[in-house]
């Protein structure tokens, strides 16, 4: 048996190469744009997270009366805002916060959406019916307005509460897709087989159906990530963003509502605008490549 055990380790790699995830990976490697985008995205993510460990947030959001609206200089690489606060530091922390929100929302919506869709699709029948009605109801809610209402209502407004509010109204699309897939999947014999083998339903759902949907989920989540990063900035722009001691890309962008800032002080908002633009593009490039990979007709590699 020892020999076999060793084999398991050795051969794991060799055989993994055929799985869905590896197809996704291959597609990205083959798509130069997607590869560059992925590297860029990971690079930015790692950079902001690492640098923000070094930066002192209190120091960055410290109001300095004698450095208001400084243009970029050696001290302030990207100048300062109307509170005399360093834009570069805010940009780093802001990007981190925006990415963090993007990730949290994406993962939370993913967990809720996948679970919901899986249960609904797997059990089908009456339960599915009821769950679909619930989903439809969430779908018809005026999302942006309710988010704004809740943002205004929540007394303590933080990245966490914000993410939860967003999640509450964003899980439906994933749930719908997953449910449709699960409905197809449940008819396959391997699911029936597992039932006859005495595997409990939850184990079948998460242990058997879920892995078969993994590449699909990765694709959806990647594409959602791009959208979620953008959402926060929109809300901040409308004036429902974070307090200024929690900088985000959206807060920086919202300074552009001031016409002087928009016209004369590009350093405040332009880097954030470009960064959002690039982040969204790169995530989307990766997402599109992954999407191609799951659709054999369009596959390149």
């Amino acid at each position: 048996m020892e020999a076999i055990k060793l084999d398991i380790k050795k051969e794991k790699k060799a055989h993994k190469s055929q799985t869905g995830l590896s197809i996704l990976w291959r597609e990205i490697i083959h798509d130069k744009l997607a590869l560059i985008s992925l590297i860029f995205f990971i690079g930015i993510t790692v950079t902001v997270f690492v640098i923000s460990l070094v930066l002192d947030l209190d120091e960055i959001v410290r109001v300095d009366l004698f450095a208001i609206h400084e243009p970029p200089s050696r001290t302030f690489w990207l100048g300062t805002d109307y509170g005399g606060r360093d834009i570069f530091g805010q940009l780093i922390i802001g990007t981190r916060n925006s990415l963090l929100i993007g990730f949290i929302v994406t993962i939370l919506t993913g967990v809720i959406g996948v679970t919901f869709g899986l249960i609904s699709g797997y059990f089908a029948g009456h339960l599915d019916n009821v769950m679909m009605r619930i989903l439809e109801f969430f779908n018809i809610l005026p999302f942006l307005m309710l988010v704004i209402v809740f943002v205004a209502l929540v007394p303590k407004y933080s990245t966490v509460s914000f993410s939860l509010i967003m999640t509450a109204f964003l899980w439906m699309e994933i749930a719908r897709i997953i449910r449709a897939k699960a409905l197809q999947e449940r008819e396959l014999d391997y699911i029936q087989a597992s039932k006859t083998l005495g595997t409990p339903n939850w184990k079948i759902m998460f242990g058997h159906v879920l892995p078969n949907l993994s590449s699909l989920i990765i694709v959806i989540l990647t594409l959602n990530l791009a959208a979620n990063i953008g959402l926060e900035s929109g809300l901040s722009f409308l004036g429902f963003g974070f307090p200024e001691d929690t900088p985000s890309l959206g807060t920086l962008l919202s300074y552009a509502r001031n016409p002087q800032t928009l016209q004369d002080r590009w350093w405040i908002w332009l880097p954030a605008a470009i960064l959002i633009f690039l982040l969204m593009l790169s995530v989307r490039n990766v997402g599109e490549a992954l999407k191609r990979a799951t659709d054999p007709r369009q596959r390149r590699g």
Binding site: V61, R62, V63, L65, F66, I68, Y82, G83, G84, R85, A152, P155, K156, Y157, S158, G239, F242, P243, E244, D245, R257, N258, P259, Q260, D264
Partner: protein
């Protein structure tokens, strides 16, 4: 009478208007929730504004009256920009409006019956003249014969009385029922629905009305009278509760002012044509177009000549546009101040007075004084507002030049002094966390409420927190974010226990009497501060003796000193109003400045088209 609490309270409100600091969001859009009786402006130095090297300006360099002396052409129209980032509400009647934006509209087609001089006192130059009977405590008003509503009907004494009957009616649910009305004899009983008639109002003939007051105070003759008749022939068929939403208020509003409303796009714009029968004479201009203009685009609209005059100009945009070639910036000292308030207790609704709590967190005057020493308001004024706001010293702003006492030594930025005071008072960091504990050694966290709105609001609040942090006081923002205006005042007014200190702003009415803001019976005494010395001085200021101006000045000088000593609040900044006016406009004066003998019918232009800023 003296049915104290309620009456006194109303009295208190008389000369106050609640100031809304950046109330409707956007750029310091200041909203006065009250009547627009402004203050005097000393503007001897008619120096053209000069840009200092460091980009710091002084209000002394501005003039409230347009300097253009050019020749006025016949007719012409101008565009007035109402600076607002929302729509105006559109309750276009003095008796029904709620917010300042509507007043900006009303002023073009209506005006109060009485005009005031630069000392805030009523003059005999208005649409009505008056005679005072101090003995009886009554005033008799006579409306001029040629004062007619826009539809040709004369403005009558009955119209004037009708305003009292409507606003004072129990069914009236607007916000205009103030001290100006309730101080009239019999008004409270009428408001309570106990009587159908108001004993203090007597219509003598078609153009003459006599108002009798329960208590005759010096305040009465400086805008203490509700002087806004309501055309009875138009309103009498409308149930009172439907009036605010009626067409007579919103669609075809009517007045007796220099211009008539021609058309209204709700919330957006109003066009006016001249009222040829205006009692002061036919206006020069053919008409005026008023439109809402977003604070973010004011400068561009001015540059392109899209608007000739705007209601206000965001101070933070001024440095970038100070040299705009086609406009002249008018300026005046605003009769308002911002302040930091300390919570002392609660409002006792049953007793109708404040109930200070001697154990309140902020009860120690040394702590308050130290906090005053810790902040650098001069720097704030210069850096955030380019000198267009500046360090405030007393609770009567310099716009009241006869009462403001600039000899008083108020604490100014001195962190070392702040630390010394705190050390002495026993606020010492005993547990070594970098923050001071209270004299009993308990952890001291001061919760600071500040409202959102103005552009600078957020860094300003953070700056204060930092300043206090620097002297070892731990101050935290309530909820971790700025509080929206309505919520802010809701919480302050309801004495939310989570709030220890707050930043607010007050507009001071034309009368200096502070009883409405700092009196024992004032709901607006948000700090819930009270002291016997304070009670006495406030009462003295309203006594018969106070009809003697020098006596009154002395009383309020003492009161200002008392406030600097006891510090229920400390004032932070005084502020300037800036109004840019196109160079073709003649005879325009900042309307908030009283006693300037220029009226809107004299407004004119020197050329058909506005000047456009040269590239």
């Amino acid at each position: 009478m003296k049915k104290f609490s309620l009456t006194k309270l109303l009295l208190a409100m008389m000369f106050i208007f609640l100031f809304v600091l950046g109330g409707c969001g956007g750029n310091d859009a200041e909203e006065t929730q009250g009547e627009e009786d402004p203050q005097v402006e000393d503007s001897e130095g008619k120096v053209d504004e000069e840009v200092d090297d460091d980009g710091i300006y002084s209000i002394d360099d501005f003039d409230p009256i347009a300097s253009n002396q050019g020749e006025i052409i016949d007719g012409g129209t101008i565009t007035f920009g109402l600076v607002l980032d929302t729509a105006f509400e559109g309750a276009l009647n003095y008796n029904f409006y709620t917010g300042n934006p509507d007043v900006q509209v009303i002023r073009w087609f209506n005006e109060p019956m009485l005009s005031i001089d630069e000392d805030f006192n009523y003059t005999q130059d208005g649409a009505a003249t008056f005679e005072v009977d101090e003995e009886e405590g009554s005033i008799t008003f006579t409306i001029r014969d040629n004062v007619n509503w826009h539809d040709g009907e004369p403005v009558t004494a009955e119209d004037w009385a009708y305003a009292y009957e409507v606003v004072g009616h129990p069914d009236y649910d607007g916000t205009r029922y103030s001290q100006q009305l309730s101080s009239v004899e019999g008004m409270p009983a009428y408001k309570a629905g106990e009587t159908d008639t108001i004993t203090g109002i007597e219509i003598i003939d078609e153009k003459t009305i006599k108002l009798t007051y329960e208590q005759f105070t010096p305040s009465l003759l400086s805008s203490g009278v509700w002087a806004y008749p309501l055309p009875k022939h138009i309103f009498e068929d409308i149930p009172i509760e439907d009036m605010p939403a009626s067409d007579a208020v919103r669609v075809n509003p009517i007045g007796y002012g220099p211009f008539k409303v021609e058309s209204i796009v709700p919330g957006e714009s109003v066009t006016f044509v001249k009222n040829e029968d205006y009692w002061r004479g036919e206006p020069n201009l053919d008409g005026v177009t008023l439109r809402v203009i977003n604070p973010t685009v004011v400068a561009q609209a001015l540059q392109s000549g899209e608007v000739d005059i705007v209601s206000s100009f965001p101070a933070d945009q001024y440095p970038d546009h100070a040299d705009m070639s086609n406009v002249e910036f008018l300026g005046a000292i605003d009769n308002a101040y911002t302040y930091i308030g300390f919570k002392f207790g609660k409002w006792d609704a049953d007793a109708g007075e404040v109930a200070p709590d001697p154990d309140a967190k902020m009860a120690d005057v040394n702590l308050r004084r130290a906090m005053w020493y810790a902040v650098d308001n001069n720097a704030i004024g210069e850096r955030f507002y380019n000198g267009l706001r500046w360090n405030a010293t007393t609770l009567i702003p310099p716009s009241h030049k006869n009462y403001h006492d600039d000899s008083i030594e108020a604490p100014t930025y001195d962190p070392a002094e702040a630390e010394r005071i705190l050390d002495e008072a026993g606020y010492i960091d005993v547990n070594g966390d970098g923050y001071r504990e209270d004299p009993d050694g308990n952890e001291l966290v001061i919760n600071f409420a500040s409202m959102s709105g103005g552009d600078i609001a957020e860094p300003l609040a953070n700056y204060y927190i930092q300043s206090w942090d620097q002297v070892g006081l731990k101050v935290e923002l309530v909820d971790g974010r700025l509080v929206e205006f309505n919520t802010f005042y809701d919480r302050i007014e309801n004495d939310d226990p989570d709030i220890d200190i707050y930043q607010g702003a007050w507009g001071v009415g034309s009368d200096v009497d502070p009883s409405g803001l700092y009196g024992r019976n004032a709901v607006f005494n948000y700090t819930r501060f009270a002291s016997e010395e304070n009670d006495k001085l406030i009462a003295d200021g309203l006594s018969k003796e106070a009809f003697d101006v020098s006596y009154r000045q002395e009383v309020y000088k003492e009161w200002q000193e008392l406030m600097v000593e006891q510090i229920p609040v400390f004032p932070t900044l005084y502020r300037a109003i800036l109004v840019p006016v196109n160079n073709r406009v003649v005879n325009y004066a900042i309307p908030e400045v009283p006693g300037i003998d220029i009226h809107r019918h004299e407004l004119g232009v020197t050329q058909e088209e506005p000047f456009v800023a040269g590239e």
